[in-house]
C-alpha cells in the first residue's frame, strides 16, 4: 500500500499495535525477568538475614559450651592430681609396667596404712590382685582394681568417720558398706574396697610381640 493510500485509521491501527508490541514485548522480555531476579535476591537476603539473626544466640551457646568444657577440664585436672596415679598407655608396655608398680609397690602399702591412720583397728588383711600381663588386653580408658573385703573395729562415730575418710585418700576408692555388728565402742564393720584409675591421654598402638600366657598342655 503506497504512502498516498494510507488513511488515518491505518495509522491509528499501526500506531496502537506498535505501542502495544513495544510495551508488552519489553515487559515480558526484560521487566519480568528483572522482577524474578529481584524476587530471588530478596529470598536469599531473607534466608541470610534469618541465619545472621541467630548470631547472638549462637555466640551465647559457644561461650556456654566453652565455659562448661573449661569447668570440666579444671575439675578433671584437679581430680587427676589428687586421685590418679600418673599412668599413661601411650606406650602400652610402659603403661602396663607403671600399673604393676602402682599396684604392687604403691597402692598396697597406702591402703594398708589408711584405716589405722583414721582411728580404727583393722582386723583383716589387705591383698591387691595380680596386675595384668598382656598390655593389649588392658582397658586403657578405665581400670578397676577390686581390692576386696576389709574388717575394722571401733566405736560408731569413728567407724562412720573412717568410711567418709576414704574420700580423702589419694586414690579414687569406692566403699561398699557391709554389715555393722556388735556394741559400740567395739563395733565391727565389714566393707569392700574398689580402686578406680583413669589413665592419662590416649592409648598407643597395640604391641604385636605381646601375647598372654597360655595354659600348659596336659601330660
Amino acid at each position: 500500500m503506497g504512502a498516498s493510500k494510507l488513511k488515518t485509521i491505518h495509522v491509528i491501527i499501526i500506531g496502537c499495535l506498535a505501542s502495544i508490541l513495544v510495551g508488552v514485548g519489553t515487559y515480558f522480555l526484560v521487566i519480568k525477568k528483572m522482577n524474578e531476579s529481584i524476587a530471588g535476591l530478596n529470598g536469599r537476603l531473607a534466608t541470610a538475614t534469618e541465619e545472621f539473626n541467630k548470631r547472638p544466640r549462637v555466640l551465647a551457646d559457644l561461650e556456654a559450651a566453652k565455659q562448661l568444657n573449661r569447668t570440666l577440664e579444671i575439675k578433671y585436672a584437679k581430680y587427676l592430681r589428687a586421685k590418679m596415679p600418673p599412668i599413661s598407655f601411650q606406650d602400652r608396655a610402659l603403661g602396663m609396667i607403671a600399673l604393676w608398680k602402682e599396684e604392687v609397690e604403691t597402692l598396697g602399702p597406702l591402703i594398708r596404712r589408711w584405716p589405722e591412720s583414721t582411728g580404727v583397728t583393722m582386723t583383716s588383711s589387705v591383698a591387691i590382685p595380680s596386675p595384668p600381663v598382656d598390655p593389649n588386653a588392658i582397658n586403657t580408658a578405665f581400670i578397676t582394681i577390686p581390692v576386696g573385703s576389709f574388717t575394722v573395729v571401733g566405736d560408731f562415730t569413728t567407724l562412720l568417720s573412717h568410711i567418709r575418710s576414704w574420700n580423702k585418700f589419694n586414690r579414687l576408692v569406692q566403699v561398699d558398706v557391709g554389715s555393722l555388728t556388735g556394741p559400740s565402742p567395739y563395733m565391727t564393720l565389714d566393707y569392700t574396697v574398689t580402686v578406680y584409675i583413669f589413665p592419662r591421654g590416649e592409648a598407643g598402638q597395640t604391641i604385636p610381640m605381646a601375647t598372654a600366657g597360655q595354659p600348659g598342655q596336659p601330660g
Binding site: 495509522v11 586421685k83 582397658n139 578405665f142 562412720l160 566403699v175 557391709g178 583413669f198
Partner: protein, 200 residues
C-alpha cells in the same frame, strides 16, 4: 461573510495522516522511554540487592562457622562429663551409708541394743535386743517417724507370755529405704578381664 471550502477532502487527508503518525510516534517514544526508565529503576534495585545479599551471606557463613564450633565444643563435653560425673558420684556414694547409719541412730531408742545392721541398697536388716516389750514398742514408734529415711519398717515378732514376763528378747526389723542406694557405674568400663586377673 460565508466561508465555503471548495478544496477536495484528499488534500486534508495527508495532513491528518501526518499528524496522526506524529502523535503515535510520540506515544511509541513515550512507551519506549517509560520502559527504559522502569528497567533502569529495576536494574539499580537489583544492583543494591546483589551487594546486600553478598554482604549478608558472608555474615551468615560466619554464623554457620560459629555453629560448627559450638557443635565441636559440645562434642568434647560428654567424655569429660562422664569421667568427672563418675568420680563425683563415687565420692558421694561413699557418704551415703554413713549418713544412713547416722539417721538410723537418731531414731533409735537408747534402751535398744543393735546386734547387727546389714544394708542391701534398698533395705536395712537390723538385728536388735530389747529389755521389754515397752522398749521395743517405743523403738518402733520412733522408727515410724523416720518417714524421710524409711518407706516401711517391719518387725518380725515380739515374744508372748509363757509363765513369766520376758526379760530381754531379740527381734529383727526390716526397713525399706525411701532413697535406695545404688553404686555408680562408668559407661566406659570394659568387658570382663583376663582369667586370673580380676576385672582389669
Amino acid at each position: 461573510m460565508l466561508k465555503i471550502n471548495l478544496l477536495p477532502t484528499y488534500i486534508f487527508e495527508k495532513r491528518k495522516v501526518r499528524r496522526t503518525a506524529m502523535m503515535f510516534g510520540v506515544l511509541l517514544l513515550g512507551v519506549a522511554v517509560g520502559m527504559l526508565a522502569w528497567y533502569s529503576v529495576l536494574a539499580a534495585k537489583q544492583r543494591d540487592l546483589t551487594v546486600q545479599v553478598a554482604d549478608m551471606e558472608a555474615k551468615a557463613n560466619e554464623v554457620k562457622a560459629l555453629e560448627a564450633q559450638v557443635a565441636s565444643e559440645k562434642a568434647k563435653s560428654p567424655t569429660l562429663q562422664g569421667k568427672v560425673g563418675f568420680i563425683e558420684n563415687v565420692m558421694n556414694y561413699n557418704l551415703e551409708y554413713p549418713k544412713l547409719y547416722e539417721d538410723l541412730a537418731k531414731y533409735t531408742y537408747s534402751r535398744i541394743m543393735y546386734r547387727s545392721v546389714e544394708p542391701s541398697g534398698t533395705q536395712l536388716k537390723i538385728g536388735a535386743t530389747a529389755r521389754s516389750v515397752g522398749d521395743c514398742g517405743r523403738y518402733l514408734l520412733n522408727m515410724y517417724r523416720a518417714t524421710h529415711v524409711f518407706s516401711s519398717v517391719t518387725i518380725d515378732s515380739v515374744p508372748g507370755w509363757s509363765g513369766s514376763i520376758p526379760r530381754g528378747f531379740d527381734f529383727s526389723v526390716t526397713c525399706n529405704l525411701v532413697k535406695p542406694i545404688a553404686a555408680p557405674t562408668y559407661a566406659g568400663a570394659g568387658g570382663p578381664g583376663q582369667p586370673g586377673v580380676p576385672a582389669i
